[in-house]
Symmetry: C2
Subunit: 284 residues, 2 copies
């Protein structure tokens, strides 16, 4: 038997169309395009590529990306001030600080300088706290992408047992919080978990965000499992996830890497930016 493949690309395409439509509706009501500010530290390397990708995606739906680059002589205080000023600017709907933050800045001070109402990647402590308590919250984009993939394929969450492998603050922990808020029973597993396979085999929904290539093998899933792979690992020049390919022979459904959660992630950033933009415009 072969697992149903949860292809994220058509889901992302539909989300892009929806975002484009929402921007057009905002522009029709007057005013300029909402801005998405991206604080970027490097001009090369993974974080620069990420910033460029987000910027391109934002522009494509009609948002105005604004790349913010710290001056050579800026310190934590001055950059935090610039980030706070973006929060006060009514034209800015979303603010994103790319990771990793260079050691010369205090990362948590910069992130928590983001106005929580414009924290479209759910990076601040305030957003994490609201999310952890089950309140309405802006959430990390990858965690939201997991929920959106499940929703798009009609996979119900309430009352089901979800097992999350990995407890990073950007994926594992917020995914667990979102699943719990959606009434799943949630088991959080990680490096210190004993007998991981006993737990993963019980999962009706298995979310893997461990950053460990092929961590999940065929013996670790059941034929009832829906497996969502958040891993992005570079291996021998290709990209692979945390779930071994052989799992597709056993599980009920699997999201591929690449092409599963990944394409949806940036769309979640844009969706949250539009949620904020619409709120700002109606408050005017």
């Amino acid at each position: 038997m072969s697992a149903r493949l949860l292809d994220g690309r058509p889901v992302a395409a539909a989300l892009r169309a929806s975002a484009t439509h929402r921007v057009a509706a905002l522009l029709a009501r007057g005013g300029g395009p909402p801005k998405l500010a991206i604080v970027r530290f490097d001009t090369a390397g993974p974080s620069a590529i990420y910033a460029a990708g987000v910027s391109r995606a934002a522009a494509r739906v009609g948002l105005e990306p604004v790349i913010v680059t710290p001056d050579a002589d800026s310190d934590t205080r001055s950059l935090a001030g610039r980030i706070a000023a973006l929060g006060a600017d009514p034209a800015v709907a979303g603010i994103l600080v790319t990771q990793p933050v260079p050691a010369r800045f205090e990362a948590s001070t910069l992130v928590n300088a983001i106005e929580p109402g414009k924290d479209v990647d759910g990076a601040t402590a305030v957003s994490a706290g609201r999310l952890a308590r089950g309140e309405t919250a802006l959430a990390p984009a990858t965690a939201l992408a997991v929920m959106e993939l499940l929703r798009a394929f009609g996979i119900s969450v309430a009352g089901r047992h979800a097992v999350v492998v990995g407890r990073s603050p950007v994926v594992g922990r917020p995914v667990a919080a979102l699943l719990l808020a959606a009434d799943a029973t949630v088991t959080a597993c990680h490096r210190a978990t004993r007998d991981l396979a006993i737990l993963t085999r019980q999962a009706e929904i298995l979310v893997v965000a461990a950053g460990s290539p092929a961590l999940i093998t065929r013996e670790m899933v059941s034929s009832a499992s829906v497996v969502i792979d958040c891993g992005i690992n570079a291996l021998d020049g290709t990209v692979c996830g945390d779930v071994a390919l052989e799992v597709q022979q056993v599980a009920a459904a699997v999201s591929p890497v690449p092409g599963g959660v990944g394409p949806i992630t940036t769309m979640m950033l844009l969706r949250q930016t539009l949620d904020v933009a619409e709120r700002l415009r109606s408050a005017e």
Copy 2:
């Protein structure tokens, strides 16, 4: 076989002695006693009794309790201003807003007016966010009391499977976060969980904070389970927990109600107040 009873009263007594000693050491270094501000709305009823209890416990270890009562004409804005002013007062080490907040105030605005560095009951979104991410954080006192009871009885947490029943923002969710940060594998169960007994029987540590008398019965635990009961239910004029008495015939260890987690909870408030007070004094 009969379960080991995890008696919280001697644990609380030792914590009280330690707090008294810490206050004395602070006073010996000069300055007045650190203040614990308690915002209280009622002069009768459970929240008034709670405020009086905390106030008495604080005074007993040498802290200075300060009861803050809103004026009849105060609104959310003015009271939030008073709470923020307490945050700026160097003599105040801890701030607590008793629940429930009357409907004429916006509860979350009041709570989030607490300076996060003095949020000794872990009530603000910032504290919840830090806790949810596994960072150092001030945490809700009841959740900390669970961890302290486990520690006091030498029950190791790392690598063990903990099942938490209940997902309230003041107990279930923060206990799950603390257990996860302490390297337990954590399953969060709640009202929408199917087959609760299958999950609770797998627990090496079972924390129950559901607010449902005798929810956990003997069939739902194993002989290896350590059961921590956070329930406080008034039933027929007595107080009982969420765990049926018969569980003591099966489980390895059980915390009683009353006398388990309860006595430790207020001591956790005082301990966090002293942590803050010591930090404030060394920063002077």
